[in-house]
Symmetry: none
Subunit: 204 residues, 4 copies
Amino acid sequence: MSVESYRQTVKDAKRADILKSALKNFLKYGYTGAAMASIAEDADVSTATLYKNFASKEALFTAVATMAATTVQEDVGELPMDATAYDIFTKLIWAFHAAQQEHRVNDLIRVVIAEVPSSPDLTREIFQILVVGRQKKTRAYLDLMVERGLLKPHDTELGARFAMGMIKELAVWPTLFMPDYTFPPDILERAREVMDVYLARYGA
Amino acid sequence: MSVESYRQTVKDAKRADILKSALKNFLKYGYTGAAMASIAEDADVSTATLYKNFASKEALFTAVATMAATTVQEDVGELPMDATAYDIFTKLIWAFHAAQQEHRVNDLIRVVIAEVPSSPDLTREIFQILVVGRQKKTRAYLDLMVERGLLKPHDTELGARFAMGMIKELAVWPTLFMPDYTFPPDILERAREVMDVYLARYGA
Amino acid sequence: MSVESYRQTVKDAKRADILKSALKNFLKYGYTGAAMASIAEDADVSTATLYKNFASKEALFTAVATMAATTVQEDVGELPMDATAYDIFTKLIWAFHAAQQEHRVNDLIRVVIAEVPSSPDLTREIFQILVVGRQKKTRAYLDLMVERGLLKPHDTELGARFAMGMIKELAVWPTLFMPDYTFPPDILERAREVMDVYLARYGA
Amino acid sequence: MSVESYRQTVKDAKRADILKSALKNFLKYGYTGAAMASIAEDADVSTATLYKNFASKEALFTAVATMAATTVQEDVGELPMDATAYDIFTKLIWAFHAAQQEHRVNDLIRVVIAEVPSSPDLTREIFQILVVGRQKKTRAYLDLMVERGLLKPHDTELGARFAMGMIKELAVWPTLFMPDYTFPPDILERAREVMDVYLARYGA
DNA sequence: CATGAATGAGTATTCATTCAT
DNA sequence: AATGAATGAATACTCATTCAT
C-alpha cells in the first residue's frame, strides 16, 4: 500500500511537472512552435515518459489549457461598497486588468484562439471559463451597484460587456498582437474616460 | 504591346489565384499549418512560380492580409452625411461589421494572432493594417460628425476605440473563439445601445 | 551499466560510420554537392539521426576535417632526435607527406578551399586546424633541432613555413589541380634538395 | 553584309558581356554559388539568351576559366640586369605577387580548384597556363642570372619552384583560405629572407 | 531572334512519435 | 517502468533549364 501510494505520488508530481513545463512552452512558442522534446526536457523526463502521460500533443494541450484557464482565477477580492461609483468602477477595472497581466491570460488566450480551427470544442470550453465567467462576475458587481443606487437600473449583462469591451480595446487587444506592448502613460486617464462614458449613460 | 499586355493579364490572374488559394489554406490550417506546396497546388502553379510571385511565406501572408483588409476598407464605401447621428452611426458600425463578416477577417485575425509568438514583426505589421487602419477610418468619420455639429468636440481617437471596442465585444470576440458563432436575434438592438452609450457622452 | 556502455558503443560506431560516409561524400561531390540525405543513407542511418549526431552540415564538415587533420598529426608520431639534421629532416618531411597522401588531406583541402566564398568562417577554422596546426608542429621540431645544436638559432616560425612551402610546391600544389597526379621518380632527390636549401641558410 | 556584320558585332558584344558577368559571379560566389539567373541579369540578357550562347553552366565556366587564365598575363615587364642578385630577385618576386593581387588570380585558382573533381581536364589545362607558365618565366630569369654570374649554375627549374613555393606560402596560401587576408607589416622583410635562403644555396 | 514566365527535382533541417534495451 | 536513440514524413525555399509567346 505504501509503495503504491509513493509511486502514485511520484507519478502525480511528474504529471504536474509536465503540465507546468508544457504551459510554459505553449505560452512562449505557441502550439505549433512548442516542441514535445523541449517540453520533456524542461520537465526533466524523457519523451517516452511524456507520451506515457499524454497520448499526443493535442491531448497535452487540452489538459494544459483547461487546467490553466481554471487556475487563472481573477483574485479580484472583495470590493468595498461604501464609495462613489467612480471609486468602485476604477477598482473593478484595474482588478481585472491586473489579474490579466499577472497570469498572462492574454498569452493563453492567444494560444487557445490559435487552435480554434483544430479543436473547436476545447476553445468553446475555454471561452466559457475565461470570458463568460469574467462577464458574470462583472455583471454581479454592476447589479450590486444598481441595488445600492449607484447606477440606475439597466441591462447589466449588456453593460458589463460594454465596459469590458472598452477596457479590452485598451488593455487586451494590443497585447494580443504585440506581447511586449507597454501601456501608454495616459492609460489611467483613458480608463477613467471609460467610466465617464459608462456613467453618462447608466449613472444614477 | 500585345504580348506584354497578355503576359500581364496572365500574371495578374495567376497572382489572384495564388492569393485566393493562400487565403483558403491559411484559414483552414493556420499560418504554420498551411504548406506552400499545398497553396501552390491549389492555385495550379509550381512552388517555384509561387515564389516568383511572393518572395516568402511571410510576404504571401502579408499580401493576403493586406488584400483582405483593403477589401474591407473599400467595401465600407462613402457614407452619406446628411442624416442624424443615429443613422450615420448605425451605417458606420454595420458597414464595418458586414465587411468583416463577409471577408472572414475575424478568421484571418485569428490566424495572425496565432503567429505572434513565432513572428512578432509580421503580426505587428498586420495589426497596423487590420486594426489601426480601421481605427483611423472610424476616427475620420467621427471628426466629420464633430465638424457637422452632430457630436460635441472630444478626443475622437479614443472615442473611435471605445466604439470599436464595444462593437468588437459583440461581434468579434465571440467569433474569435467560435468560428460558427451566430449572432443572437437582438444583435441590432444591442448595436443601437452602443450608439446610445456613445451619444450619451459625446452627442451634441 | 551494461545498457549504458552498450549504447555508448553503438553510438560511437554510428558516429564513425557517419564520419566515414561524410568524408567519402565530401571528397566525391564537394561540400555543397554532397547531400546530407546521401551521407545519411551511406551511413545507414536516417537524416534525423545524422542531425542528432551533428548539428548541421557545417558542423559535420568541420568534424570530418578535424578528424582527418588529427589523424594526420597522430600518424607523424615521435621522431628520434639522435641523428643528423639530414636524417631528421627527411623523416619529418616524409612523415608529413605520407600522412597527407594516405588520408587524402589534399583532396579535403580542395573541398575546403572551394567553400571559401560561401562560408569564410568555416574555412578559416579549417585553415587553423589543417594548416596552422601543422606549421606549429613543424616549428616545434625545428626548435628542438636548434636546441640540440643541429640548426643555428633563427626564426623557426618563418623557417617552418619556408620548408613547408617548398614541400607543398612539390607534393601538394600539383595534386591540388590534378588528383591523379603521381610523383616523378626523382621526388626523393628533390626533397633532399629542399633540406640542402634549408641547411645552407640555417644549418649549424 | 552590313546587317549581318552588325548582328555579329552585337552578338559578340553580348557574349563578352556574359563572360565578364560570369567571371565576376564565379569569383564572388564560387561555381556552385553563382546563379545562372544572376549572371544573366548582370549581363543584361535573359536566361534564355544566356543558354543560347552557352549550352550549360559547366560550358560557361569552362569558357570563363580559360579566357581568364589566358588574359591574366603577368605584366612583369622587363627587368634590368645591371643590378645585384638581391635587387633582381626582389623585383621578380614582387612583380609576380603584384600581378597575382591585381588580377585576383587567387580567386580564380580557388574556383578552378573547386571544380577539379568534376572537370579534371579543364583544371589540368588551367594549371598549365597559370602555374607551369609562371614557373617557366621565373626559370628563364634564373637562367639569365646564372649566365650573368649572379647565381652559380644549378637546377634552375627546381630552383624556380622552390622560390615560388616559399613565396606562395607567404602570399598565396593564406589568401586561398581567407580572401580578405591582409599581409602582415613585415611581409617585405620575410620576402627578403626568401632571397637569403635562395642565395645561401645558389648565390654565386 | 529574344524574352519572361514556368517548373521539377532538389536542398538542409525539424519534429511528433515509436521502440529496443 | 523509464529511457535515449531512431525515424519517416514534412517544410520552406532554390536553381539550372525549357518553352510559349
